[in-house]
């Protein structure tokens, strides 16, 4: 391995810019880091070069740990977007600079520099000054300069970003050739997909500081694991179906489930990707067995774009099927897909708007299941066991990845904690094969919140044990702090449940109430559970508020229906806590979802008290959803 990054992390003013990036790059590979602006790709490159110091993690170059070495000691070649060639030096002096610093003899220096200028296509221009060169030529000088001292790795930060399209294409070809010839391990950072595809042996896709997926260009294009990659790279249709034995159910259409798709339970959502150019349109029904028929669609848009023809179709047969991409247009009721016809088909197959045509797929790809990402906080006692059981139940029901976290108070306790987590992990391995394990050192609440932020978790699961005969005595200090500061929902478990089939969503009228309905609905949809939305009116509730609440509940019902959740709504009179408990008992709810509102600048104190009371009184798991004003 030429380059190995382990859990590389960087924060700027509390903002995570690079989030635990781990990556291995092979000798002689041309690796491209692809991501939008602010994805952290350039920061990763700068950390490898030593221009930015990581907050955590390790960087190894050719087996040598260089994490805290100065840039000078690393021996990397770096090419900047703005060229940064030394303007008071001639081209030759620029290229020789690295050798001059290394005290190479002048004739050897000259020979090597001439050789490199020849390689980058600037032979004979050595005596010129940078101001006499074009942008493309300057970047060639920068490349030669970075290669002159035979660096261990070559790093290029958006090297073609400042150049015009034609020059960019030429330079790409040159770079690829030079890289092949010298076999120097290279990382190139870019936001340009075309560039990434043309150059890369492998591509790493980055988003908000995380390395989402790594793979060969074709794999990332046709068989990505994640939804992000599927929608970020190229245009694509991503539809959400449900598993039905050996089939994927999409409205009235059923596609065969590929045997290699990750195992999921019946009814679980399955996201499929098909690229617009892997579809076939024709006016007659398909005879070819190899083609998966998606039914008939109505042509609603047809755009001629030279070599290709882009067509948007409304698929009546897919009505009600959620499309991740193309993104639904506001007011659209029927699922739309995008098709691209190329070559002879684009020229011959011309349809009229409104025409019904048959849509077939040459192939499609099943994305990895993405459920709720759950952080299960395990302590070595009864409450930890509760958190583990309910957290894994939630993760299992929603098909999400989960991580077991233990916070050790002191570093010397970490190893023992890891052993403990390992036993817990094995206990749940059958239910959750992908269960992850993590140990952090420090104060419980602070470390839990940090881990939740860094790992982009969607739910934090905490256990609250009823200690012996005294019963439940309120939330522990860790739970209180996590509840106060968490930006994601917190699951508090006092009594375990065996399944997740019935969810009670307690809501308030109006805008803030939508947050917990939406999240509760998401849990219900993923877990295929039924939901009750409850509004409790007290004596203080004004007629105005009652009216608003009634309207809100109707909207909530509609929102659940759109998500495909079986739901009902309920309005009760009287005390809030008593009514929630009564309804939960009536439904035998497995989970109570409540919203916690944080008044601006103040902690969610009142709600925290409320949550505490509810957790104590309900003897059922409570999911507290933070609501943002």
């Amino acid at each position: 391995m030429s380059i190995r990054l382990t859990d590389l992390t960087k924060r700027y003013n509390e903002q995570l810019v690079v989030n635990r990036v781990s990556l291995e790059i092979r000798d002689g590979e041309l690796f491209v880091l692809l991501g939008g602006s602010g994805s952290g790709k350039s920061t990763v490159l700068r950390m490898i070069a030593g221009l930015t110091t990581p907050d955590a993690g390790k960087i190894e170059l050719n087996g040598r740990d260089v994490t805290y070495l100065s840039p000078q000691a690393r021996g990397v070649g770096f090419v900047f977007q703005n060229y940064s060639i030394f303007r008071h030096m001639t081209v030759l002096e620029n290229v020789e600079f690295g050798l001059r610093i290394r005290k190479t003899k002048s004739n050897e220096r000259r020979r090597r520099a001439e050789e490199l200028l020849d390689l980058v296509g600037l032979a004979g221009l050595g005596a010129r000054y940078p101001s006499q060169l074009s942008g493309g030529q300057q970047q060639r000088v920068a490349l030669a300069r970075a290669l002159a001292y035979q660096p261990a790795v070559l790093l290029l930060d958006e090297p073609f970003g400042a150049l015009d399209v034609k020059i960019r294409a030429q330079l790409r070809v040159s770079l690829k050739e030079i890289q092949r010839q010298l076999q120097v391990t290279t990382i190139l950072v870019t936001h340009d997909q075309e560039e990434a595809f043309e150059l890369a042996d492998r591509i790493g896709v980055m988003d908000t500081g995380r390395l989402i997926e790594v793979g060969a260009p074709e794999t990332l294009y046709y068989q990505p694991d994640t939804e992000f990659t599927a929608t970020f790279i190229g245009g694509g249709n991503v539809l959400v179906g449900r598993k039905e034995d050996k089939w994927i159910r999409l409205g009235s259409v059923a596609l065969p489930l590929p045997p290699e798709a990750a195992h999921t339970d019946n009814g679980a959502p399955i996201r499929i990707l098909f690229r617009p150019e892997r579809t076939i349109l024709q006016s007659e029904p398909f005879q070819d067995r190899a083609i998966q028929v998606l039914g008939q669609g109505e042509v609603i848009e047809q755009i001629f774009a030279g070599a290709v023809q882009r067509i948007v179709l409304e698929m009546e047969g897919l009505r009600g099927v959620r499309a991740v991409a193309p993104r639904a247009v506001y007011g659209q009721s029927v699922t739309r897909i995008e098709v691209i016809q190329t070559g002879a088909r684009a020229a011959e197959n011309i349809f009229t708007l409104g025409q019904k045509v048959w849509v077939g797929l040459r192939d499609f790809h099943v994305l990895d299941p993405a459920g709720l990402k759950v952080l299960i906080c395990v302590s070595q006692d009864a409450s930890g066991q509760l958190a583990a059981e309910m957290g894994s139940l939630l993760a299992h029901a929603t098909h999400g990845p989960a991580t077991l976290l233990h916070v050790a108070a002191r570093p010397e306790l970490a190893a023992q904690a890891r052993d403990y987590l390992e036993t817990v992990r094995r206990a749940f391995a059958a239910q959750l094969p992908g269960l992850d394990v993590r140990v952090r050192v420090g104060t419980s609440a602070a470390q839990i919140l940090l881990e939740a932020q860094e790992g982009h978790y969607e739910v934090i699961a905490l256990g609250q044990s009823a200690s012996g005969d005294t019963g439940f005595r309120g939330l522990g200090s860790t739970a209180r702090q996590v509840l106060e500061q968490a930006e994601v929902p917190v699951l508090l478990t006092q009594t375990k449940r065996v399944s997740l089939k019935q969810i009670l969503i307690c809501t308030r009228g109006g805008e803030p109430g939508k947050t917990d309905v939406a999240f509760g609905g998401r849990v219900a949809r993923r877990a295929d559970a039924a939901a009750t939305v409850l509004f409790v009116q007290t004596e203080q509730t004004t007629p105005e508020e009652q009216k608003r609440a009634a309207r809100h509940l109707l909207q909530a019902e509609a929102a659940l229906a759109v998500q495909g959740v079986r739901g009902k709504i309920k309005i009760l009179d009287g005390g809030i806590i008593e009514n929630i408990i009564r309804q939960a008992d009536a439904d035998d709810a497995d989970l109570i979802v409540i919203g916690a509102q944080a008044p601006r600048g103040r902690p969610r104190l009142r709600w925290q008290n409320f949550a505490t009371q509810l957790v104590g009184a309900a003897a059922r798991p409570v999911l507290v959803v933070p609501m943002n004003e």
Binding site: F80, I85, I101
Partner: protein, 275 residues
Amino acid sequence: MTMTTALKPSRVPRGLFPVGILLAVMLPLILMPLASIYVFAARSGLEGFINAITSPEAQFALRFSLLIALLTAIINGGLGTYTAYVLSKYRFPGRDALNVIVNLPVAIPTVVVGTSLLLLWGPIGILGQFLVPLGISPMFAPAGVLLAHLFVTFPYMLGAVKPVLDELEVTYEEAAYTIGASQLEAFRFVILPALRGGLFSGALLTFAHSLGEFGATILVSGNLPFRTQTAPLYIFAQFEAGNIEAANAVAAVLATLSFVLFFALMQFNKKSARA
């Protein structure tokens, strides 16, 4: 381009009248005073002129002035460049305040600078009251003149170098680091050469200002012939004593020196603008 050329009026205004007004104003304001120095210098003839500038007192004043100007340019050259580098490269609390402070000497009247130096280093000054009894007394001594000149001319070097440094991208230096240059090597081989133009014009400006400095010098030097008397002070003293010829000869030399420096600077700027 052809469009705009075509639209331009073909008749270029001759503008004799406005130029005439300008000359009429400039003549008594600038040109005639300058000319009169040389007219008076020439009046006593070449021999008188040479005698006037070779008198030991005049010789000392001229040489002392040149020496102080040279030292000022060298010291402030280094100091100003370093200040510019720190201010341009590092971000720290109070950076904006410091940026204002280092440029302050331009705004302060030179007489005030002289007074402030006396109040610090002089026999009754804040530091002076302790140092003077120990025999350390920069005031009314050559060192005091140098201190005054360093103070007054400090911003010129900074003003010439800092804009160039600000314009250099951070990556310029970073490129040198990744190539293997130490911070010192990066400064020596990469930053400094890029500053050449700024350094040269800054040093010339500093030198020229130091050569003509009067307000602060007259206060801190005590105007002691053969010890602290610079050329401008000599001219002032000779005028006061009624030796117009002696004063005028040195004034002519000083004016000529200034012209030469000024044209050198102009030529250099023109050349670097073309490059």
